[in-house]
């Protein structure tokens, strides 16, 4: 079964089979879809809960485990993500995506040597998927290596069934490491693919504001329209509205 074949990003286009009484079957895949929707809505906490419910439905559902780890990383709980990755590795020994997730958790927790080691390990396995290459790109971006771009290309090339999400993740990654102009290309594509994703609009707006584009306000307002309690978007919008001097100070590194 491909990982994202049954994903629904638009609430109106339900493709899940209804149960006998007309409701969707609440299995692991259903909760996984809900989790991805929550992630795109920038509600990482709820996404984590949905991944847990997916695992309650099927504890051998790999995407549930991987999703929990990625959400813990998004929530900044890196040691917990490491613990949970170790637990997942008991069920899925030497799984490259789990090793890649550990690499990212270590990297964001400023344990660079460990991150490199986990990334090396993950990439040496068979069936290396796009997320492994994304993690590799992140490790290399941190060490300012130009090879990171090749890893991103590799990730995109391998992402046949989840190319939309991978493009979005690539954009987020580039944004995270300050490569805003490159990130904008991916994120513009992402908002086209996920027009109801507050996170995608926020990421795009953030990059645009850092580049001094006036469209940033529109993007961030759209993000807040989709998710009114999105604090990061509120901050970014405040920054985007600061005007020329605010942006100038930012460009000079004084902010």
């Amino acid at each position: 079964m491909k990982r994202f074949t049954n994903l629904e990003f638009d609430d109106s286009s339900g493709s899940r089979k209804p149960s006998g009484n007309g409701e969707s079957v609440r299995d692991a895949v259903y909760f996984h879809q809900r989790a991805v929707q929550c992630f795109l809505h920038s509600d990482f906490e709820l996404a984590l809960r949905n991944y847990s419910r997916a695992l309650e439905a099927n504890s051998s559902f790999f995407d549930g485990w991987a999703g929990q780890i990625w959400m813990l990383i998004e929530l900044g709980e890196y040691p917990e993500a490491m613990v949970w990755a170790d637990k997942a590795l008991e069920s899925f020994p030497e799984h490259p995506e789990l090793l890649a997730a550990k690499a990212v958790a270590c990297l964001r927790d400023a344990k660079f040597d460990k991150a490199k080691a986990y990334s090396d390990n993950s990439i040496s396995k068979d069936h290396v998927g796009p997320r492994i290459w994304l993690a590799r790109a992140e490790v290399l971006l941190q060490s300012k290596s130009r090879v990171a771009d090749n890893c991103l290309s590799k990730a995109l090339a391998l992402s046949d069934d989840e190319s939309d999400l991978i493009r979005f993740e690539a954009g987020r990654l580039l944004r995270r490491y300050g490569r805003y102009s490159a990130a904008v290309e991916y994120l513009q594509e992402a908002v086209r693919l996920f027009p109801k994703s507050a996170l995608a609009w926020y990421e795009l707006g953030y990059c645009q504001s850092r580049l001094g584009f006036s469209q940033a306000v529109t993007s961030l307002e759209q993000s807040l329209h989709l998710h009114p309690h999105f604090d990061d978007a509120k901050d970014a919008l405040r920054y985007a509205k600061e005007g020329f001097l605010g942006r100038l100070f930012s460009r000079l590194g004084l902010r």
């Binding site: 079964m1 984590l48 847990s52 695992l55 309650e56 099927n58 504890s59 051998s60 559902f61 790999f62 549930g64 929990q68 780890i69 813990l72 929530l75 900044g76 709980e77 890196y78 040691p79 917990e80 993500a81 613990v83 949970w84 008991e90 069920s91 899925f92 020994p93 030497e94 799984h95 927790d109 400023a110 344990k111 660079f112 040597d113 490199k116 290399l140 060490s143 300012k144 290596s145 130009r146 090879v147 300050g178 000079l252 590194g253 004084l254």
Partner: protein, 340 residues
Amino acid sequence: MRCQRCEFENMPGLDTCMRCGSVLAAAAEPIDVHPPRMSGWKKPIRGLFRQLRKLKPASKRTAGNLHEHHFPEWIDGASRVAFFGAFLSLIPGLAHAVQRRFHTIRWWVVAWLIMLLTGLFLFGSPLGLIVLGLAIGIHVWIAVHSALLAEYHQFNYRMAGYLIILFIYFVLYQALGRVVFFNLRGGYSVINVPYAQVHQGDFLLGLVSRTDPEEITRGCFVLVRLENVANHGLGRRTNTAYAQVIGLTGDTVAIENDRFVVNDQLLDAEQYPLPTWLRRQKFSTVVPQGSYFISAQYRGTGYTESQAIEVCVVGQEQIVAKAFLRWMPLRRRGFIQVIE
């Protein structure tokens, strides 16, 4: 039994997949699927530790990558030498430019410029010295982190590297200061002249080019090498300090009623105050050719007339600069009023 992960059809009764080793669904025991969570209070503490970890010197891994991918061929060989780090850090941002870390250049350049300019602005005060020290620290930091000293992993080697580069930059800053501001000399005042708003301990700036005999006038402040002071044990200042000129070549300087008398003319005590150590002294002397009679405050009392004259009369060669600016304290910064 089909494996959920690799879809391999396993024999019934197996706990793990034959092909990939995954736990098979039927064999899996009920397991906790709720991950551990971080307490809210731990987040800032962990964040702090994370920031501290980021401050750790770049590891060999990073250095290896940088050498491997970014350093031009001609630099790569030279970069093996630890001191090359110091060379790259001469201009903050240069090392980053070489390593193509362009977006971090501005941080270093701005930080260094702020430190340098603030240090120069406050030069002469303890705070100014601290800030200048921080500017030097930025050089040292870049030197150590420009992937050159990363070859050394042991703490003692790294510490030695820090100290050596710190010493190099300390000497370099002193030398460069002398070169760039070749005509300027700073020093602390050892005389209290309220009329000119110059107090003991003020940091004055003087021009080296204005030490010719025609430039030195009565009442001006000159930076003097106080060699005789050390010889007589009158003060701790054995180096240079700013003192007031009282008598010029050929003048007759005397002390009467706790005031200076020059060429039989009583000088104003406001403009030419008598230092404490010269009070109750009564002497008269003629300033020899190529010398000046200077007034400065020293410690102690009770020395002979000849000792006092020897301390106060300085040769032209001992004059280093003539003061024109009160630099410190900040609230009294301004040009020194010429005493007629």
